[in-house]
Symmetry: C2
Subunit: 308 residues, 2 copies
Amino acid sequence: MVLTDDRHPPQQEAPFDLRAYLAEGKARVEDALDRCLPITYPERIYESMRYSLLAGGKRLRPILCLATCELAGGTWEMAMPTACALEMLHTMSLIHDDLPAMDNDDYRRGKPTNHKVYGEDIAILAGDGLLAYAFEIVADTTRNVEPQNILRAIARLGRTVGAAGLVGGQVVDLESEGKSDVTLETLNFIHTHKTSALLEASVECGAILAGAEAADLDRLSRYARHIGLAFQIIDDILDITASKEVLGKTAGKDVAAGKVTFPSLLGLDESRRRAKELVESAKAEVSAFGSAALPLVAIADYITSRNY
Amino acid sequence: MVLTDDRHPPQQEAPFDLRAYLAEGKARVEDALDRCLPITYPERIYESMRYSLLAGGKRLRPILCLATCELAGGTWEMAMPTACALEMLHTMSLIHDDLPAMDNDDYRRGKPTNHKVYGEDIAILAGDGLLAYAFEIVADTTRNVEPQNILRAIARLGRTVGAAGLVGGQVVDLESEGKSDVTLETLNFIHTHKTSALLEASVECGAILAGAEAADLDRLSRYARHIGLAFQIIDDILDITASKEVLGKTAGKDVAAGKVTFPSLLGLDESRRRAKELVESAKAEVSAFGSAALPLVAIADYITSRNY
């Protein structure tokens, strides 16, 4: 995808190449993830952590973190430990959500889930290990950032994962399963906590590390909330319209589980319309940053255009 | 227990009242834990976290953290968020270790385990929530401490919980279960990672927050490793000699599970002798701190005298 910056036509800037940007970000993040988690005794737990952490994926969260650090005047290097931490937290939540006691999923990103390969006990511990390691690497390996800002990023990450974030979202999701009277309000709660929360933290943490001011953080938060919800609506749509081969995980699962989703509440067309609307709102939020926000604008567009 | 400081006889100091010290520490820690985790939506997860976090216990880890912060020139207040975090990490590891996929325990501290009350899904999430919250409160609520030292404490906590600490210890413990050829080396690995690691972090973090120097931290680490191993040996002994009523958890479980323990490898008498020897070594390590180390000396003695 190529996006030209039409807000500054006289400057004739080079078109923004999102494909190259995402590929570069993904490569840098995966290299850092690979290097920060070498296998040592007891090997099985490190293998299990690496199995899920290095299982691919778009690495959207870490890339958003790198992007907003740069947007706010920092460098990718300053944000790399936090970017890795975000991917560890995301991976940890997937490993635990897939467990038999939770969503009981057998496939994830086209591969058997962690507990199918390593057993439930190791899968639980691999999640715990990733969760703890996320905070350790941010505290221990972040360079050229004000310690005060590192602490703010750590607090932000903690809030995002805990009962006020991912964990809380998963609890309400579990409580809603099988119920036919789930409201749009509850559905919004689940998704703002399970999906948007981590995207929002990704976007905010990068900017926090670079020392961004409150007004800019607010703007970035709103951008993240919009794309987070759009992302989830598209996920719900793809669960209905895409196949397992394309999706890399069990498709049609929401319908089979009688789960209330955006399409089941609003229909496919209205869901698509809302996702588009949210992406436009997200882009409007960051337009004030001018060309510095090109990666964020392109990523917002990318979210509604994806088909896996 | 009352311990007089016989290293400084001319000063005629007041005898150190460990019972009062532990009671005061426990009350302050439990008050802080209670206040930092109010129940909010979704209530069930907060209730589950609080159920295990506020289930009593000696609060030895947080008290050790407060004690070493004071020993190194700081205050209890500076260390209180980290003290609470240590108890959250300890509680989290107990909740997850008790799960059916792990040690499958029904009782803990005289009460049904978390998953017996709230279900496995909520118990897993309660552990995750406590793990994340531990880092959040240290980063967010520690006051009057150099930000650089808060970051060092956070990194230390992360290393303690992850695959290089508690998680790694539990993995080797699970791998050793049912095996009759477990070596003393492996048993030591399990206990230094499952038990000593968190005691060591407790002792070190308090001193780190107060800005202690490397040599003092090394001394405190050795103290903690010694009492940690002594603590575990006594635990193994009590599993054989005490009843469930006194212990508050399932007794005789190690023997029933065919688990290799210190008494099974060394016999009861030799195990008792080693525990005593370790406590003496621990006390020798901190003797250089003089009367400032009275709480640590008394706690070391307390560990071999406990019967629950």
